[in-house]
Symmetry: C4
Subunit: 264 residues, 4 copies
């Protein structure tokens, strides 16, 4: 029994063996297919015409994913740790909406959360490279999280202030009917999205908007700067030469200062 | 008396003691609540229905903040310095609009300036880290201020010129009714906001717009480059010289400003 | 015969000789002219009025380009390699649509693929500089391809998820008629394009949109950071190792790949 | 006579003397005023009401600027060099439209070219700092010009191709009436401006647009990367210590390695 569990563990959680790879590839295509099913079901022309087929497909796929989830829980050496991990939660959320749809109507579309399971694709393709390259990305974002949250709070403050000023200036006219509404306009403007569903009509309003736009255009530089600097730090992975103790690139085979073989 | 003032000073201005932390957290929630009150009051359905409740709440909150402001003035060792500081001005502006609303109608919404008081949240959470991380951000922006103002003046010139050309080209047609109006269009276009409330209709106008867009798309690189470079400079760990207190590179042996031996 | 082929080769493929340069310049103007012809033909007022002239012009230009393509195949030392190369494929696609238009109507506009042939202009202008400067750009993009594809998959996931949530929230109202439609909205929003053809109408929808916008505004920092770091790496002057021909830092004494003494 | 010219030269072209500074400040305000006059004249309500006042003001200002231009030509040691320089051309273009308006109607608005004369403001404020800081900006842009022009040609190619595909896909429907029109749409989309005056209506069109948007969203990284790298290069101005020959920051007073006084 334990042997079966171990073997299954290598297939389901691992990616090195051939069976493990086949399992992952099959799973990825099933996930992609199930996301497509949910999407197409939402298209009115298709959803009403093939409602029965969609209903069956959805349940079949949910049963498959439920079995997979139970299997993972069973074979995992630490089931609780898996269930609490990022992937465990995503796996659980990928089956939940179908069961919820028995009680509540209209939320089974949230099945598209399955799309995040596709991120496993990187585990299949070149595993080693992923761990290093994606790690750089994730690490850079993590260590800039604090700076970025300062930035976001500043943006929220600016947007709240700008929105209120515009509410006062535009006088509740066309679109600017309340402060929350005007803050929504400020977000649309400062982020340079610019839907155009709400636009200033007074001369002063247009002047203030222009300032908000140029400000939004300039402060995009802040998160960009934060992330770039963090990435640059991480990308310059160097180590000391074992012979001359000067700094060399991590991936070097020979020291570029003294010529010693670093990998010998 | 002086002892009471000192003690209050540590609670109100400080964040180290437990009482100081509790005071700050309570203050932050009160500020957040007061901003929400102002926002919700502006929503027509709520504002007219609960106008009395909003009126009372606003005055209660303003009285609380006024007492807090007076307290800060009283306990501060240098009351004038506090009143003139960034936080002092924000604190004052956070109570002013309610009193102004006694004389002038419609400006009490400016109470949302209180949102900026929320930036104090960083003083409460991990104080030490904030002073260093936020300082990097603020320093980087400060020292790129001059370069960014050159950039902004260039943008204003381009936008003015582009707007005028479009006014001449589009011939006062649909939207492009005056030069200031056309400059507003140019700002909307160059910053890539693109509301769509004013769009070119002539072939030449569309061609010029395309140039303006690609230009705007490319020159975003300038502020981004400026800020990134400044941040990169600052991210190289620095410390304060023990003698002249200017910032020096961590690995320096001698201060590069005053020449003192840092490792002695 | 072989001599003629060799001579032609230097004219058609080379850019050093005067005849080669003249050939390339003439070709570039012909390409530009042919792209303009296709464009102008599509303008209804011109296309219907001068349909015969456009028809003749298009065939004349296609015959010229066909002869050029056959000539290149004939004089090329490795015709198959040329035909399979980037330029060979572009050259072939530049004549294909006209012939296809004999069988299928409406696709001859794809002739504008010829525009990509214009990229040869860089071969004519300062050949040497191009190979180094453009190479830096292409290399930087190539080596950040893997990181950027992680980023793009993440964006696709976010956009799918955001779109679905908005479909559920906006309840199939105005525009948000299906999940694919809502995903299109999410792409328009997260990339800060913001057409405004679909906008949220519910309060919750506007709140979620605001989050999507700020997210889109912030994550632009990721590809920017990736490309900047790669370019910075590459901009540090490198040269080719005399032994293993891999790229090494200019100031190196020993090649860090094969250990050969570069300064000997 | 020569003395008068020399003295005037120091006042008009120089900024060190008090008279020179006063002259420049007065000139800047006159320029700003004249730009405002042109702008306000274009506002229909004002232009028609005060047409006589605007006419007089414009001629008075043009005469002042003409006299200034002639004065500059007269006192300049090399009048031809001045007339051919960037500032000489801007100065000339700043008076030309008024004279042209005697013959051609409607182009006198081009007087706003005067706005570029305002860039002289940097010569007045902190002259020394400007020469170094702005120089960094201009140098960085200059040396990235070649890379940026490759980028721009690539963008033009992509936009042309995308526009044509959309013309074929959308079938001349609503807005996509010709290839040039569709290219205009592609520019609006790829640069993330997104007016919304032309939007895709077919499913395939929306899919292709989504790709164009994500592409535009990602390739903004390229000019950003180019400019950032160039600026970073330039900002790291270092020189060799005169004593220990290690690299030190240019603005250092003492070497941070050996402590020698670098400015002695």
């Amino acid at each position: 029994m334990t042997n079966l569990r171990k073997e299954l563990y290598y297939i389901v959680f691992g990616t090195e063996s051939k069976a493990g790879k086949t399992f992952d590839v099959f799973l990825l295509w099933t996930i992609l297919f199930s996301v497509l099913v949910v999407m197409l079901e939402s298209v009115p022309e298709l959803g009403s015409r093939y409602s029965r087929e969609f209903f069956i497909l959805e349940w079949v796929l949910t049963v498959i994913f439920t079995l997979e989830f139970l299997l993972r829980l069973w074979i995992s050496p630490k089931p609780v740790a898996y269930a609490k991990s990022f992937w465990g939660i995503i796996d659980f959320l990928s089956i939940l909406p179908t069961y919820l749809s028995l009680f509540i109507v209209g939320y089974h579309y949230l099945l598209v959360v399955r799309i995040f399971r596709l991120l496993r694709v990187f585990r299949v393709l070149k595993l080693a490279r992923f761990s290093s390259e994606a790690q750089v990305l994730v690490d850079a974002l993590k260590s800039s999280l604090y700076k970025i949250s300062i930035f976001l709070l500043a943006v929220v403050s600016i947007v709240t202030f700008m929105g209120t000023i515009m509410y006062v200036v535009e006088g509740g006219e066309e679109g600017f009917t309340s402060i929350p509404q005007s803050i929504y306009w400020a977000v649309v403007t400062v982020t340079t999205v610019g839907y155009g569903d709400m636009v200033p009509h007074t001369v002063l309003g247009k002047f203030i908007s222009s300032i908000a736009m140029i400000m939004g255009y300039a402060i995009i530089a802040v998160p960009t700067g934060i992330v770039t600097v963090e990435m640059a730090k991480r990308s310059n992975a160097t180590r000391e030469c074992i012979n001359c103790h000067k700094s060399v690139e991590t991936e070097s085979t020979y020291c570029r200062h003294c010529g010693v073989n670093l990998k010998a």
